[in-house]
Amino acid sequence: MFKSKTSKSALVAALFAASSMAFAGPYDGIGKQITDEAIKPWDISVFFDGENLPAGKGSVADGEKIYQAKCAMCHGEFGEGAKGYPKMLGDKLEILQKHAKSDEDTVGARGINNLWGHAPTLYDYIRRAMPFFAPQSLSNDEAYATTCYVLYIAEVIGDDKAVCDADFLKKTKMPAQDNYYTDPRPDVKNPRCMKDCMKEAPIVKGKAVVGDVSVGAVKKVGE
């Protein structure tokens, strides 16, 4: 299904280089041009490096009031999570990594301090989707304040007098910022064996019940 390298690069070249011809295409007249100013209310996405963070600011103290009123019922008074909703403060990154290395469960220990890339995207997410029951209801200043408080209870920042704005968030280093790497798959090679693929009897684990983790006794089929 994938074309040769030559035709691939030819297609890419045609797509990107021929952009000046776009206006003269046969579909001219479909859709309208729009100004950046008109798009602005929708153009809310903030990049990891802080690009497109808006003007405004908010303090840890202001954020505490918003958090306790609108966030604590799901994320816990101290960021410990509640009713199955995510923690703000998870295990310290070193602890999470230690548990991962010994194959212990880390899913329940995840928080903003061990699994979040950048402070600007925390602001983005809070302004875009939180509080869960009223998304996009916070003003830019309120979103800064809430972000600031969440960073504080997640122990990413230690200063309870902090005031967060675009510059502050750009300078804030998240503990897990460099704990990511891009997809290396395919990472597992299974030879397509057809005959005599298993030397020993299969060791079967089961049986499952819906909603109930079942480790089950190890036994060989036929025993």
């Binding site: 299904m1 994938f2 691939k8 297609l11 797509l15 990107f16 776009a22 206006f23 295409g25 579909y27 479909i30 859709g31 309208k32 041009q33 950046d36 798009i39 929708w42 996405s45 990049f47 990891f48 490096d49 009713k83 909703y85 991962a100 290395k101 194959d103 880390t106 699994l115 890339g117 950048h118 995207t121 983005d124 875009r128 989707a129 996009q136 897990a176 704990n179 790497y181 891009t182 997809d183 395919p186 990472d187 299974n190 030879p191 397509r192 057809m194 693929c197 298993m198 060791i203 079967v204 684990k205 089961g206 049986k207 499952a208 819906v210 909603g211 079942s214 089950g216 089929v221 036929g222």
Partner: protein
Amino acid sequence: MSEEKITMPVSGDEQAVASEARRSFLRKSVAVAGGALAAGAVAGRAVASDVVKDPLPIPPTNKMLGRGVVSVPYGMPSKFEAHVVRRNVEWLTPDTIASISFTPLQDLEGIITPAGLHFERYHAGAVDIDPSTHRLVIHGMVEKPMIFTIEDLKRLPQKSGVWFMECPANGGMEWRGVQMDSLQFTHGMISCSEWVGVSLLDLMKLVGVKKEATWFYGEGADGSALQRSIPLPGAKDQFGKPIPDADKIYKDIIVAYAQNGEALRPENGYPIRLVVPGCEANLSIKHLRRIKFSNKPLVTYQETRHYTDGMPDGRFRQFTLVNEANSVVTFPCPDKKLPGKGAYEVRGLAWSGRGKVKAVDVSVDGGKTWKEAKLVEPVFSKCLTRFTMPWEWDGKETLIMSRVTDETGYTQPTLRQLRKERGTNSIYHKNSIQTWKIEANGEVKNVQIENL
């Protein structure tokens, strides 16, 4: 036709078994597979006694008038199919608003998922959007930022395809051990539809995407305003490392307005959504309102906190976009026990986010030997593919499983192989071989073979 013509005279003995035969007839008429052999085994009788000798009853529906046209203006499945529904797992998520439901794969045939049974994944619930007010904005690194109505999009050339849509968490409850004794719950985060819309490439030409653009992101008009970064040729991550498959993924992408012949359902993104074939379904942004071209990814919530895969060294994989090849036996399965020994057709589904399914092998001896199954046409790229294999069950405990190889030569791994590489904290992209254990009584259980 008169009743006399089809009613044959019968003897007293034959009349004596008439009611049992009627029950048997009904049972057989709804059996998934097996015919007379299976029905005989269930009743515990010799096969020869299962010959139908008594006269067939006239179905009552032969003697009545049915509903008139448009008494059901939008047709619904038979009331006898009421069990074929999406289901959810209550303990999986704290509410049903940011949650997922599962497609009843055990009751579906062929490769198309009816839109009403397409699995649902909401980050903030399904919304009803008026298409007359909905707009798509395309901007960023473009010559000409543009805004489109749904009517505008429908004037542009159509592009369509039959592609699967799969959540990367499909099977994710099974990393640490067997958990869900049901095909619907082990594999039901996948559906497959014919999607119709506008090619991203055409939209790119219309707005004049600049050469330096190496990414774009899509954003939804729902309460989550879900956004995901999607790579274009030359895409690099926030560390400057290249994104695999960046020169392949974007070519198939469409902005879809139709699914299986009709408008998208609200649950699937009405009025328009991105469809990113082969990739984890959260890239296919529902209720799409905005596309922005850039020279870097957002690296946002969905790309660090959420759709990232925890590895045994404590790090997290990001941008694990493609759903690798996967397959599962859909009959028999825990949801469909075997009525008795005898002849069956093993059936299943296979798919690959990297292209077409090349072959599917089936094992009925716990993975010792494998036999190539028949692929049922059509076989499309990044689409569910149906496979079948004739099989005679001897009534003994049996371990049955399937294994797909795609056109890139990649063969579906075992769970042991996946765990060795990725541990058990990954949540996402568990595409390992699924084993079902058929018990002597015909019940089918979800099991894992530790040494496969």
